[in-house]
């Protein structure tokens, strides 16, 4: 088992079209258990990189190992399965499916992944849960949400609460890697710090690797390592 969760060498991705955006990363390494702050202005290729890490987009042939798996060698449905099995995603806002309850939103990855379902039931390190619902409720509690919210429709929640539910969804079933894309940008400063504390606390407890993307460099101090996307880039002059 390699010490890296993400091991990328000489990655090149070109959006279709003559003036399509080109992302080129000579090397990007993330160690197990690391909490990486990935900073980049909008348009710096953050979204493209996240899609590449999640296996939604495929780069030109290169060395790209995520959790010792060569995503470029997988079929698209195998990449879909890999994504839900091993990676939890957290977005900026409107992170939840509006017609599902809080608990159903948290359990969404378990619906698509047998692996996540099993891991949600036999959580390593803590006592086993009797049911997926119990596991979801426990996680919501650990993220500082009132259990009574579990059956509510998500539209009844505040933005801050919604982001915690989204965090619970990313964390359920113990994925090895969490990728968060500006999850705090819709929160005010006070809530931002609070949310970060809770999220980082959970990641520590569960020994999850975290890649946290934001344009807000003030947040960088919370992380073990900060990386500027522009510095990863080979030729920043080509930015779209």
């Amino acid at each position: 088992m390699s010490p890296f969760v993400v091991d990328i060498q000489n990655l090149v991705f070109q959006w279709p079209g003559k003036h399509g955006f080109r992302l080129s990363i000579p090397q990007f390494l993330v160690k197990r258990g690391e909490r990486v702050f990935l900073q980049g202005a909008s348009g710096s290729g953050k979204s493209t990189l996240l899609s590449l890490l999640g296996g939604v987009l495929l780069p030109q042939p290169c060395h790209m190992q995520i959790l010792d798996t060569d995503l470029t060698a997988l079929t698209s449905s195998a990449r879909d399965r890999f994504r839900v099995d091993h990676i939890g995603f957290l977005f900026q806002q409107f992170n939840l499916v509006p017609y599902l309850s809080v608990r159903e939103n948290v359990l969404l990855p378990c619906r698509f992944s047998q692996y996540r379902r099993q891991r949600a039931l036999q959580s390593p390190g803590s006592e086993a849960a009797d049911s997926l619902e119990q596991s979801a409720d426990r996680l919501l509690g650990q993220l500082g949400l009132d259990m009574k919210l579990a059956r509510q429709p998500v539209t009844a929640l505040s933005v801050g609460q919604q982001q915690r539910v989204a965090a619970a969804r990313a964390l359920i079933g113990h994925p090895e890697l969490i990728i968060a894309d500006e999850p705090t940008s819709s929160l005010d400063a006070g809530r931002q710090a609070e949310f970060l504390d809770v999220l980082l606390g959970r990641c520590d407890d569960e020994k999850v690797t975290l890649i946290f993307v934001s344009h807000d460099e003030r947040l960088a101090s919370h992380f073990s390592r900060a990386v500027n996307l522009d510095e990863l880039h080979e030729t920043p002059g080509e930015l779209a």
Partner: protein, 399 residues
């Protein structure tokens, strides 16, 4: 969305239901009668006035012609029918007691009495279920017939009132809306009439009519049953070639088929219009789902992030459409049933169409299945659009 589909499904199934039930009540209205005979006209017209009491007879036939038919060796029974008078909008049928023995409908059922018995006396009348219900008549009540077929304001045979001797069980046929009297009674009330009006200065009181010869001179039509069905064409030829006057005999089944071939066109266009309304409902559904997709790109990205492949997104949208259509269809069926319960009496009273709220016919189920299949197929359009969107957007929709 589901409501507009429900309404269009209601319309479609309602038309289908009316269609099959109208057809059924028409084809149920006569059975066990081998030939219907009358003055020479078109077979459909003869059926319409002789059996369904729709429209008027152009000519009557002579009593002697009826006797000739009835006495033919191949004939088992013959029932005369004399039309033309009415009672408060209901047709008066002059006939013989044989009517109650031989007239069959539906699954070869005979008419049965809810109350009372067939007419015996000259001034006895047997009324159908609707007549009794709508006019509140009971056995023993006295009624006055009108001259002519079109309801109120007509000359009355007020000097010769009838007594209700029996009320028939409901049949769902024109019989329900008829007043039956003996042929002799028709003669009796017209004794002192000539050319459609009372003879001035002549009045024959009811108690004296029995002294007159009340043999009928003319009738409108005849229902004929044969000893053997095998002789039906031979008998038909005998009647059609009758020397005394021009007559026409029709086989009820054949005439009904002919009638349906005409009605079919109307039916088909009604059905086509309802199908169009359903199509409009379904395209509305597609338009609404498509318009809403833009706002749901976030949701699609979330689904993608938890491992849903583009094909799963596609199926989700398609199934969503199918569910809306199914809900609409169910609502439509429920609405139709409710409508059937409430509107059936009104329809029956005003149009004479029996509209049972009961089970959907096999054809209606097929139509329903067709609507749902079409609904699923058109839902593939938003499904495909969502598939393209989620492929293009990946995890980060461009909002």
């Amino acid at each position: 969305m589901a409501v507009s589909i429900a309404l269009s499904v209601m319309l479609l199934l309602g038309v289908e239901q009316l269609r099959t039930q109208a057809r059924e009540s028409f084809s149920q209205s006569i059975s066990g009668t081998d030939l219907v005979a009358g003055a020479r006209t078109s077979p459909i017209q003869l059926m319409l006035y002789a059996v369904f009491r729709l429209g008027d007879a152009t000519h009557n036939i002579r009593w002697s012609s009826f006797r000739a038919m009835a006495e033919h060796p191949a004939v088992a029974w013959a029932v005369p029918i004399s039309l033309g008078d009415s009672h408060r909008g209901f047709a008066v049928v002059g006939t013989s007691a044989a009517y109650f023995e031989h007239f069959r409908y539906g699954d070869r059922r005979l008419l049965t009495f809810a109350e009372g018995k067939p007419f015996v006396d000259i001034f006895d009348a047997v009324i159908g279920a609707d007549v009794a219900e709508q006019l509140g008549y009971h056995v023993g009540d006295s009624i006055v017939l009108n001259h002519g077929a079109k309801g109120l304001g007509l000359a009355e045979h007020a000097d010769k009132p009838f007594k209700v001797s029996g009320i028939l069980e409901r049949t769902g046929l024109p019989v329900d809306r008829s007043v039956h009297v003996g042929l002799e009674s028709i003669e009796a009330i017209h004794l002192d009439w000539q050319g459609g009006a009372p003879m001035p200065g002549v009045s024959i009181p009811a108690e004296y009519v029995r002294k007159f010869v009340l043999a009928p001179k003319e009738i409108t039509a005849a229902l004929i049953g044969l000893k053997s069905r095998a002789g039906v064409f031979q008998m038909q030829r005998f009647i059609n070639q009758y020397k005394g006057e021009p007559l026409l005999a029709v086989l009820p089944g054949v005439a009904l088929d002919e009638l349906w071939s005409i009605v079919n066109i109307v039916e088909k266009s009604l059905l086509a219009i309802s199908a169009l309304v359903v199509a409009v409902g379904l395209s509305g559904l597609v338009a609404v789902v498509l318009a809403g997709l833009g706002e749901r790109r976030r949701e699609l990205a979330i689904l993608r992030s938890v491992g849903a492949g583009p094909h799963v997104v596609f199926m989700l949208l398609a199934i969503e459409g199918l569910m809306v259509v199914t809900a609409g269809a169910l609502l439509g069926v429920m609405g139709l049933t409710a409508l059937g319960l409430f509107a059936a009496p009104i329809l029956e009273a005003h149009l004479g169409i029996s509209f049972a709220a009961g089970m959907l016919s096999a054809e209606a189920w097929q139509l329903l299945l067709l609507v749902m299949t079409t609904g699923f197929l058109v839902s593939l359009i938003p499904g495909y659009r969502a598939y393209r969107l989620s492929l293009a957007d990946g995890l980060t929709p461009r909002l």
